[in-house]
C-alpha cells in the first residue's frame, strides 16, 4: 500500500505483480511495461539478476526507508503537473494470443467510480474492510482506494486464513470487519466449507462479490446464517474501473439466479443484438458499456484497444467511445442476466482466463504435444486439458506449465486422446472436444484409474 501511494505521488503509475508469478510471465510483463524500477517486498535473486541485464533498478522494500528525506517542493511540482486523464495503475489480464494484456486505469476513472459507488452504498469512516484478493487483481483496487476515499480502515487477511476457515472467522471478528469486497471464489469457498453454521463473523454489514457468477445455493448458505446483511453482486469487465452494475439481494424467494442489476450513476450499459438493436424480453445480446469509468484500453496495443473500444454503434454524430465487452446477457422480466462469453474466455477462481492461453503456453514448452484443447467444466469448477501426442506424465505437464502460467491457470485434469476432433479445415473443433469430454464424463470412463 505504501508503495502504491509512493508511486502515485511520484507522478508515475504502478503495475502490481504477485510475488508468486512465474519468472517468465514476470519478465514478459516487465519487458512489456518498460518498467524503470522494480520494488520487491522480499527480494529475489533471479529478479535482481534479470534487472541487471535490462538496466532496471531493483529495490527491496526494506531499503526504501533508509535515509529517506521528503522533498516537499518536488512533490508539489509533481502534484501541479498531474492530469486526471493520466494513468494511475495498470493490471494484467489474460490475452488470447498467449500473452497477457495490460489494462490502464486513469485517475479520472477511479475518482468517478469512487464517487458513484459511495453515492449508492454510503460507506462510513467507522467501517473496516478486509482485503481478500491479491493486489494484482483489479477487485483489490476497491479495497485500496475506496477505504482511503471514505477514511475507513483496511486490514489484509493473511493467506493462511483461507486454508483454515475457522481462523478466517476469528480474524474477521478480531478486527471487527464490517465490509467484504471479495471474489466469488472466496465467497464460494466459505459457503462450501460449512464454517458459517458453526462460527459467525459478528460485525459484517455489507458483502460485495464479483468476478464470476455466484450460484444461488452458495449465496443461500451465507444468508441462512447471516441474515441482516446486504449482499451485493457486482459486475464489470477489467476494462472498466471498479464496477458498472450492482444487484442488492433483497429477497431470495423466487430468485433462481443473480441478475446483473442496476447501473451505477454516470454509466450506461447497453445490451445490443448483432444488428445493434437493443434487446427485448428474452433476447440475448452483447454488453456495451459507456461512461466515466472506462479504462484507457490496452498498454502498447493500440490495435486491440481500437477493436474493443469503439464508436457507439447507435450514432455517428460525435466521438462517443463505448467498450464492447464480449460478454453476453439475456433480458428476463426487465432484468439482465450474464450468459457467457462471445469467445472462449472463462472465469475461474475469480480470474479471467483465455483457454487458448493455456494451450499456447504448453506448445511453447514442449514439442511432445501435437495438439491440446483446454475446456472448462462449469459443474466441477475445473479446467480440463485434453491432449494428443506423445504421452507425458501429469506431474511433468504440471511442472512444465507452472513455469509459465500462474497457478489458477493450471488444469486440474489431463486426458489423452488418440486424436482430437477437427473441423473440415483441419482446425481444432472445441465444441466437439467438449462433447466428447462430457460423454466420457457421463459414462464414468474418467474415473476408472
Amino acid at each position: 500500500m505504501i508503495l502504491f501511494w509512493g508511486v502515485i505521488y511520484s507522478g508515475n503509475f504502478y503495475v502490481p505483480i504477485d510475488e508468486k508469478v512465474p519468472l517468465k510471465r514476470l519478465k514478459h510483463m516487465v519487458d512489456h511495461t518498460n518498467a524503470k524500477i522494480i520494488v520487491s517486498i522480499k527480494g529475489c535473486k533471479e529478479i535482481d539478476e534479470y534487472c541487471c541485464t535490462r538496466d532496471i533498478k531493483s529495490i527491496h522494500f526494506s531499503q526504501i526507508y533508509e535515509g529517506i528525506k521528503i522533498d516537499e517542493k518536488k512533490l508539489l511540482c509533481v502534484y501541479e503537473n498531474m492530469l486526471d486523464i493520466d494513468p494511475l495503475y495498470m493490471v494484467y489480464t489474460s490475452g488470447s494470443t498467449g500473452k497477457p494484456k495490460g489494462v490502464l486505469k486513469t485517475q479520472k476513472s477511479v475518482l468517478n467510480f469512487l464517487y458513484s459507488f459511495q453515492k449508492v452504498f454510503s460507506l462510513r469512516e467507522q467501517d473496516v474492510f478486509a482485503n481478500q484478493v491479491s493486489f494484482d487483481f483489479d477487485v483489490a483496487a476497491k479495497d485500496i482506494f475506496l477505504s482511503m476515499y471514505v477514511s475507513a480502515t483496511l486490514v489484509i487477511i493473511p493467506k493462511q486464513c483461507f486454508m483454515v476457515p475457522k481462523e478466517l472467522i476469528i480474524f474477521l471478528n478480531k478486527h471487527k470487519v464490517t465490509i467484504l469486497i471479495w471474489s466469488v471464489a472466496a465467497i464460494r469457498y466459505v459457503a462450501s466449507s460449512g464454517i458459517l453454521a458453526k462460527e459467525k463473523p459478528e460485525f459484517l454489514r455489507k458483502v460485495f462479490f464479483s468476478g464470476e457468477v455466484l450460484q444461488m445455493h452458495e449465496l443461500k448458505e451465507w444468508i441462512m446464517y447471516l441474515e441482516n446483511i446486504d449482499y451485493i453482486n457486482l459486475y464489470a469487465p477489467t476494462e472498466v474501473t471498479g464496477n458498472c452494475m450492482y444487484y442488492i439481494v433483497d429477497q431470495m424467494h423466487g430468485l433462481k439466479r443473480l441478475p446483473l442489476g442496476l447501473v451505477f450513476p454516470n454509466m450506461e450499459v447497453m445490451v445490443l443484438k448483432e444488428d445493434y438493436q437493443k434487446v427485448k424480453e428474452n433476447e440475448i445480446g452483447e454488453i456495451y458499456i459507456r461512461g466515466a469509468f472506462l479504462s484507457q484500453g490496452y498498454y502498447q496495443d493500440l490495435e486491440r484497444t481500437k477493436k474493443s473500444f469503439v464508436q457507439n454503434p447507435l450514432h455517428h454524430d460525435y466521438l462517443d467511445v463505448v467498450y464492447k465487452t464480449g460478454d453476453l446477457a439475456r433480458q428476463v422480466e426487465g432484468q439482465l442476466y450474464f450468459i457467457g462469453r462471445v469467445d472462449h474466455q472463462i472465469k475461474h477462481m475469480g480470474y479471467r482466463i483465455e483457454l487458448e492461453e493455456i494451450e499456447q503456453a504448453l506448445y511453447t514448452q514442449t514439442s511432445q504435444v501435437n495438439r491440446c484443447c483446454a475446456i472448462y467444466d462449469v459443474e466441477k469448477n475445473k479446467i480440463i486439458l485434453i491432449l494428443q501426442g506423445e504421452f507425458i506424465k501429469n506431474k511433468k505437464i504440471r511442472s512444465i506449465l507452472s513455469n509459465v502460467l500462474p497457478k489458477y491457470m493450471i488444469p486440474h485434469q489431463y486426458i489423452w486422446l488418440d486424436k482430437l476432433p477437427e473441423n473440415i479445415r483441419g482446425k481444432l473443433d472445441r465444441k466437439k472436444t467438449m462433447e466428447q469430454y462430457l460423454k466420457m464424463k457421463n459414462s464414468g470412463e474418467l474415473y476408472a484409474e
Partner: protein, 78 residues
C-alpha cells in the same frame, strides 16, 4: 495408505518434499489453491467427509498429520 496420500500431494505440488516437510501451512508452503485441491482429492479418493472443524492447522501441517486425520475419518464411517 501413506503412499496413496503422498501420490495425491505430489500430483498437486511435485516441487515439495512432503516426506520431510512439517510446516506445510505454518511455513506458508501450501496455498489456498493447493488446499482446495488436496481436500477435494482426499475426500473423493478415500470417500470421506471433512468437517470444517477438521480443517485446522494441526491436521494438515505434515504428511503424517494428513494421514492421521484421514484414518480417523475412515474409522468414523465404518
Amino acid at each position: 495408505m501413506q503412499n496413496k496420500v503422498l501420490k495425491i500431494l505430489k500430483d498437486i505440488r511435485p516441487d515439495i518434499d512432503f516426506e520431510n516437510e512439517t510446516g506445510l501451512i505454518t511455513n506458508g508452503i501450501l496455498d489456498s489453491f493447493d488446499m482446495i485441491s488436496i481436500l477435494a482429492m482426499i475426500t473423493e479418493q478415500f470417500m470421506i467427509e471433512m468437517d470444517v472443524e477438521d480443517i485446522i492447522v494441526e491436521n494438515f501441517d505434515s504428511l503424517d498429520q494428513i494421514c492421521f486425520i484421514i484414518e480417523k475419518k475412515k474409522n468414523i464411517i465404518r
